[in-house]
Amino acid sequence: MRVTVIGMGAVGGRVIDALAADPDVESVLVLHRQPDRVAARAAQWPDKVQLRQGGPGQPASSGRLARARRPAVAPGRVPPSEPLPRSGRAAGPPGLVPLSGRAAGPPGRVQRSGPVPPSGQAADVTVIAEPAAVRRSALAALEAGSHVVCPVDDPIDVRHLLELDAQARAAGRTVAIGTAMAPGLSCVLAAHLVPRFARVEEIHVASLGTGGPACARRHHAALAGIAIDWADGAWRRRAGGSGRELVWFPEPVGGADCYRAALPDALLLAPAFPECRRITARLEATRRDRLTSWLPMLRRPHPEGMVGAVRVEVRGWNADDQPDVRILGAATAPAEVAAAVTAVTARWAGAGRLARLGAAGLAELVEPTGKFLADVTRAGVPVSLFEGAGS
């Protein structure tokens, strides 16, 4: 399997390490805007990892161009005027969310040169671990015949990628959207719990912590953005920073107050579980985070957050027609979780083990979920079950 990885930050670097150590991975091509900055790390794998400047769909050294062509929407903010479908399935293919007119360039004009290594062979899988120009990168990778794995957590990026469903199906490839901690592991945990119910009523996702600097900026923007929840068959917009709820994460994290925020979990879970009545996502925040969320970040984000956790609670009715609650979670540094989930997804995509073609979240793509979670656990992210929460 040949893999291209775009970006080498807190998540991308770990993904490269995981894939380079895999005997089934033949080569890893790393595309970076400033390769000199990451050359030392890439040199740890001289036989497998090649480093190149640039990214898919953009010529070398055109990082500024890529930024300028991002949709004219502030990160984490979904303009109230944009229509959301009443149902992910009602809008056409599962998960397709129309955002036409805000696309980062027409699909047909993307250059093919990016994910093709110097050898001329296209990568089997392209991992986009870089927050800029995600849609263009994904399009270029699809056109080059590569599966795409995106650990994105921006609702705008997620909606742009969901729009690629038809193109990915036509190309016979899969675009795995949101392969981080939340969304990502959260989607697989939800998909693992849902079959335990005769009828699922509610799915609630909560996450704590940030990975690298880009993730910290997203956390900050998300609290000031518009939260999108799925409620009774329709999308509901609520103010970010509202809806405080004390959430008990796996040890050693414990309890933390979480709030609504501009998170994409519901966008990915609603198409997977259309029968579910309510899907929400919350983000842990401190009082200072809430107070300053409407301001620019007052100081530079930390290189990497080392504390993180995710918790997924599913409510519904069991086979005996009794109300039931099941909760799964994990407590590991967010960048480690994101890298483990992304690397496992890339392996599954390369091996043709993902459940379907097209663009979707992991709740739709991973089957059987138990084997996926076992792979993630072996990669250093143990999953925990909350016992004693049932009816």
Binding site: E245, L246, E251, R290, G370, K371, L373, V383, S384, G388
Partner: protein, 45 residues
């Protein structure tokens, strides 16, 4: 002028009280029963 001062004072008080309400307190109570258990790989399969 008196009306303006009173209005300004009322607005300031509202902002302060809203800020206090928004920032203080917690979002609930810890679970009274149950606890987390790490799932072994064999159990996940």
């Amino acid at each position: 002028m008196k009306l303006v001062r009173r209005t300004a004072a009322a607005l300031a008080a509202t902002v302060v009280i809203a800020g206090i309400v928004r920032l203080r307190g917690t979002g609930g109570v810890p679970p009274r029963r149950g606890g987390w258990r790490e799932i072994p790989v064999d159990e996940l399969k």
